[in-house]
């Protein structure tokens, strides 16, 4: 299927001008009520925990001014011990507040993010684009894994550190103001140029970090490609070329990282230099003020302690900047998933939702049209022209046509993996888009061509068609499909594990299991999309005979490019360039000597006994 044109909505959102960082954060937080719950208490605790950071400078000031400068000239040891004890208690209390803050934060964050992860996961399944664009799945996985992880890391680590340090900056300034407003002015003046410098750094560092992220993503793509394509690379002996390309990607990542490292080190160091400037200024001006009697000795010394508290917030901001950006980018990507409207919606909760009326299934198509949305300046690609058609209950329909003739689109519309852009499909009279998914998926089952299996036993895979099915029934299904001897050849019978994506089995064998899986679901309408394309002829014919017997009394639609399926069907629909050009039984169509007859002739030529 033309995947690129099948609007992959999430990626379209990704390409759009992103929301501002703040908007993203606010929207992100709005989506995670679990995080907001009790947030005020946590913030209050954070404030208390921050207060603890100025305890030491204040204690130093008190001890010098009240403990050492006692008028008598003798230190007042008792007072000092009281002061130190009180301070120690405050330190202890702030540690307790710190514990509660950290714990609450981590609990709220992880609870919120786990819920978000699950929501995004479900939403991705609800987006029909998944089955269009196979190549983009890896990127979607990262949205429910690493993107969430970066947010978690930021919320609990970067975010807290940033918050506490910002608090530290404020509270240190407040204490300094009490001690000596002129010195605060001096400190602010010393740090003023740094603020402009930091803005410059921040801009460039942000750009550098974005470059790093891009390079890392490219590197991941390149490595993944070399792993997935290992067989081809080996068979064509292009290891050297592949390695050279990887080396380039590695190099580019290295250079981007190094650039970011140089910038962040400069930013980090600038804080140190300016604090030196501020300290020197405080010493000179402070002593002069002290000589004038405008500041006590203890306050001056405490001031020097407090100035150092300006350094770490700036340095930590440098370190956290990258995390902030990564987290916001992560938020953005998750929001883009949740913002993408599923193009096929389950009417489950809608007021006019219906069940499929009971009885064997018949279908009516009324002006059903499908086109992929226009891309760039091109016209929309019409894949299915307005189609009117009735499929009577209990008929076995075969759909034939060349690649791109619209037959897979037809199957996807019937199973509501996609919705038509115009027209209505009725299933036993009920409009398909009003049928609850629960009802639809129970009675209409499609077997796709790729025969995807989960990394589990054959038993578990087949049981997905009918949860809770017994081992005996699974075995029976294979017997009824005429596959008993195949099952016997397996090392562990139905408990044989199929490997990742089923790759421990051959492509044809995977299709056999997929077929059994649909078969046990016992649907009223079975749709087969080239479901046995990789199976050997003898087995295919055997399966077909079995299915013929088993689907009797039910409706089935089989898409096939091996025309053996068509020969046995009650009715054949011949698709050509998005239209049904012929319709009838095998014999009727052969007599007409049209498209079908031509297709069939080439098929017979390919399979005739020589």
């Amino acid at each position: 299927m033309s995947a690129a044109t099948a609007a992959t909505g999430v990626e379209e959102l990704d390409r759009r001008q992103p929301d501002g960082a703040w908007t993203t954060l606010v929207r992100g937080l709005r989506l995670t009520p679990e995080f907001r719950e009790g947030l005020w208490v946590t913030l209050l605790l954070a404030a208390v925990a921050t207060v603890g950071r100025v305890v030491v400078p204040v204690a130093v000031q008190q001890v010098i001014d009240r403990g050492l400068r006692t008028g008598t000239g003798e230190p007042d040891v008792t007072l000092v011990i009281v002061l130190v004890t009180v301070s120690a208690v405050v330190v202890g209390l702030t540690a307790v507040a710190g514990y509660f803050m950290n714990y609450r934060l981590s609990r709220a964050t992880e609870t919120a993010l786990s819920a978000l992860r699950v929501r995004a996961f479900r939403h991705i399944h609800d987006l029909s684009m998944l089955h269009h664009a196979g190549e983009h799945r890896g990127a979607l996985v990262s949205r429910v894994t690493s993107d969430v992880d970066t947010i978690s890391q930021f919320m609990q680590w970067g975010g807290v550190v940033l918050l506490v340090n910002l608090g530290q900056l404020l509270i240190a300034t407040a204490v300094m103001l009490i001690y000596s407003p002129p010195l605060v002015l001096l400190v602010i003046l010393s740090f003023a140029p740094l603020i402009f410098l930091l803005r410059w750094f921040q801009r460039h560092l942000s750009a550098a970090y974005s470059a790093v992220r891009e390079r890392v993503a490219e590197l991941l793509t390149a490595i993944a490609e070399s792993i997935v394509g290992a067989e081809v690379i080996r068979a064509y002996h292009i290891e050297e070329r592949t390695s050279r390309r990887l080396d380039d990607a590695v190099d580019r990542e290295y250079r981007a990282q190094r650039k970011a490292a140089v910038l962040s080190t400069s930013m980090f160091t600038s804080a140190e230099l300016f604090s030196g400037l501020a300290m020197a200024g405080v010493v000179v001006v402070g002593v002069l003020l002290g000589v004038d009697g405008q500041i006590t000795e203890g306050r001056l010394v405490a001031f020097l302690f407090l100035v150092t508290m300006f350094i770490s917030p700036i340095q930590i901001a440098t370190e956290v900047l990258n995390e902030v950006q990564t987290a916001i980018a992560g938020w953005r990507r998750i929001l883009n998933v949740l913002d993408t409207e599923p193009d096929v919606v389950d009417p489950a909760t809608g007021s006019n939702a219906v069940e499929i009326p009971p009885g064997p299934i018949g279908l009516q198509f009324e002006g059903v049209t499908f086109a992929y949305p226009a891309r760039d300046d091109e016209d929309p690609v019409v894949v299915l022209h307005p189609l009117d058609l009735t499929i009577a209950p209990q008929t076995r329909v075969a759909v034939v046509g060349e690649t791109g003739s619209g037959k897979t689109t037809f199957a996807k519309l019937v199973t509501r993996l996609m919705d038509p852009i115009a027209g209505t499909i009725r299933i036993n009279g009920a409009p398909l888009d009003r049928v609850r998914f629960a009802s639809l998926r129970r009675r209409v089952v499609m077997v796709p061509q790729d025969g995807f299996l989960f990394d589990a036993s054959i038993h578990t895979n087949v049981a997905q068609g009918r949860p809770g099915i017994s081992a005996e029934s699974v075995r029976l299904a294979f017997v009824e499909l005429g596959l008993a001897d195949w099952l016997e050849g397996l090392p562990h019978d139905i408990e044989t594990r199929v490997g990742e994506r089923g790759e421990a089995l051959s492509v044809g064998e995977r299709q056999l299991v997929a077929l059994a899986r649909a078969y046990v679901a016992s649907p009223d309408l079975l749709v087969l999309d080239e479901a046995t394309s990789a199976v050997d002829p003898a087995t295919e014919v055997r399966i077909q005979r079995a299915l013929d017997g088993l689907t009797r009394g039910r409706t089935s639609i089989a898409i096939a490019h091996r025309l053996s399926t068509a020969e046995a069907a009650d009715e054949i629909l011949v698709f050509d360039r998005g239209r049904i050009v012929e319709r009838g039984t095998h014999a009727q169509l052969l007599n007409r000597d049209g498209t079908y007859a031509r297709l069939h002739a080439s098929w017979v030529a390919g399979t005739a006994v020589l």
Binding site: G67, L130, R137, I223, F452, A518, A538, A608
Partner: protein, 583 residues
């Protein structure tokens, strides 16, 4: 690991270490300067009410000087350490990815793409994580030693305070590290599980949807997500306990210094400056000491990462070049090759996939491998191009055991087209030439032969159209035809087609087969096939059942002699002539 890292990147490490040592010196130095300024400038000035301009200038110069030296130290330390770490990342990413290409396909098959990807990325990052803070840690050790010596030389009471705070922090760090090992490991595991489920579930989205299993899948994902969440909260709780304590202990130390200091000042044993100096030094030391704690707590992760890297790097390429004595033979771009299998057995894990397989494809002939689903045909195809070596027996090309050929010798003579066509995220031209200097004319010719020219021409940019993730997507049949062109352009002496036209329309397939017959390729062809038309191309049929050759001969011979063969290839025709009993 650290030793090896230092040996690989000695220069940046030396720079970083010098920076760290200078940093240690300036940190202690700044506290000393602070103490001296208190004693020599602040205290006299406040006592006498006077201060000399020279004294003040000297104090300011000392502060500025120390802070500038600190800046230099930080730059050297951080840049040195970072460059070292980043270079190690680059080196090991290259090493790992190169090694992947040397490891046997069986090794690849037993590992998921995800785990190989994380070996080359996340595991490399994790392994060298402690490199960046390593010089700082060395510096901190020096700082601590110097502080200890200074304490001992200054006063026993302060020494007592310092020597109780230091070990307390060490003990806390140790306890913390022990407490987080288990949750940290569990988190890694559970994170991998969550990601694995997401991968699988999205891969199988179509199945999930067609069977209406979205809710069941979400539930499965939720269960694992919640298990991960619980462990993260447990980890968060441990950190919530230790972090504030680790912050409080140095503060308590400073308070201790104040109390003890004042008492010692009273007894005349210490100056005010001494007390300020150590109080300040303790404040400065608090952060680097915690940093060491973080490094230590990341060590287990790093060790795991390093071990994973070693496991990959130690894995033995089993298709080794046994001396690689015969390398030049492949350059003979002469006529068709000859290939034969002699009593070949092959096992996949414990399953016997092939046993006693022997057949010969004489030069210029076309051999069809025919057999039921799962009989081992594809495995034979991969053995022919040495994507794996047989467990027993030998696969030969022009009479040479493949194991005696140098790397690349086989691919110079043979080309395979797989059932599942893999295309690179690149232009169509690059996908066909794979970087070899073929002319456009050659490329088009190969496209014609593979029946790909038509649709390639219709694409916006022709051969320059980028396909794959960032470009146009092709249908399965189109992809197969590009893959076929890739093989044909090489005019291989041995061409292997593993059901390579399964997604192509019957008519197009017929055209491809006609083309191959007429093209007069200098090739011996081995073709895995079901359809009569394809089989008809073959000079000889090798019939395979349950992993072994049960018959060889011409189609006509097998039709009369081998009932199983006859049943297989005439299944469609039989079905046509004898429609299912009841209608």
């Amino acid at each position: 690991m650290l030793g090896k890292a230092i040996k690989t990147e000695p220069r940046p490490f030396a720079v970083a270490l010098c920076g760290a040592l200078l940093y240690a010196a300036t940190t202690v130095g700044s506290a000393v300067v602070f103490g001296r300024i208190t004693d020599l400038v602040i205290v006299p000035a406040f006592r006498t009410g006077r201060v000399g301009a020279g004294t003040l200038a000297a104090a300011a110069a000392a502060v500025l000087g120390v802070s500038m030296l600190t800046a230099v130290a930080i730059v050297a330390r951080r840049l040195g350490a970072w460059v070292m770490q980043l270079r190690l990342h680059a080196t090991y990413r290259r090493r790992i990815t190169r090694h992947y290409h040397r490891l046997p396909m069986s090794w690849h098959r037993n590992r998921s793409t995800g785990s190989l990807l994380s070996n080359a990325t996340a595991d490399v990052d994790a392994a060298f994580w402690p490199i960046a803070p390593l010089p700082l840690s060395c510096g901190v050790l020096v700082m601590l030693t110097v502080t200890a010596v200074m304490l001992v030389m200054t006063d026993w009471a302060l020494t007592l305070v310092g020597f109780s705070v230091g070990p307390a922090i060490a003990l806390l760090n140790w306890r913390y590290n022990r407490a987080v090992v288990e949750p940290a490991t569990l988190i890694q595991e559970r994170r991998a599980q969550v990601s694995g489920i997401a991968h699988e579930s999205f891969d199988g989205a179509l199945v999930v949807k067609t069977l209406g299993r979205e809710s069941a899948e979400t539930q499965r994902f939720e269960q694992h997500s919640e298990r991960l969440r619980d462990e993260l909260i447990r980890y968060g709780r441990i950190r919530a306990i230790f972090d504030p304590i680790m912050e409080a202990v140095p503060n308590l130390g400073v308070l201790g210094v104040l109390a003890a200091g004042v008492w010692r000042i009273q007894t005349g044993m210490l100056s005010e400056g001494d007390v300020v100096q150590f109080a300040y030094l303790f404040t400065l030391l608090a952060f680097p000491i915690r940093a060491i704690g973080w490094v230590l707590s990341d060590m287990p992760r790093s060790v795991v990462g390093w071990e994973r890297l070693q496991k990959v790097l130690r894995a033995q390429p089993d298709t080794t070049d046994h001396g690689g004595r015969i390398g030049r033979f492949g350059d003979v771009r002469g006529g068709p090759a000859e290939t034969d299998l002699i009593d070949v057995a092959f096992r996949y894990e414990s399953d016997q996939v092939l046993h006693g397989v022997s057949f010969r494809a004489p030069p210029g002939r076309t051999i069809a491998l025919v057999g039921p689903t799962g009989s081992g045909k594809s495995t034979i195809a991969t053995l022919l191009v040495r994507l794996a070596d047989p467990a027993e027996g030998a696969v030969r090309l022009d009479g040479h055991d493949l194991r005696l050929l140098t790397r690349g010798a086989v691919s110079r003579s043979a080309a395979i087209v797989f059932q599942h066509s893999f295309l690179f995220d690149d232009t169509i031209r690059e996908n066909i030439t794979l970087g070899e200097p073929y002319s456009d004319e050659d490329v088009w010719q190969a496209c014609e032969l593979a029946q790909a020219a038509g649709f390639v021409r219709a694409l916006g940019s022709g051969l320059d159209t980028v396909i794959g993730e960032r470009g146009t997507s092709l249908s399965g049949g189109q992809r197969q035809r590009i893959a076929l062109a890739r093989a044909l352009i090489r005019r291989p002496r041995l061409l292997i087609l593993d059901d390579a036209t399964s997604s192509v329309d019957t008519a197009v397939e017929a055209a491809i087969l006609r083309g191959l017959k007429q093209a007069d390729l200098p090739s011996t062809i081995v073709i895995v096939a079901y359809r009569q038309a394809t089989i008809a191309l073959a000079d000889e049929i090798v019939f395979i059942e349950a992993g072994t050759v049960t018959a060889t001969g011409s189609h006509d011979e097998l039709m009369t002699r081998v009932p199983a063969y006859q049943r297989l290839v005439t299944a469609y025709a039989d079905a046509r002539s004898a429609p299912p009993e009841s209608r």
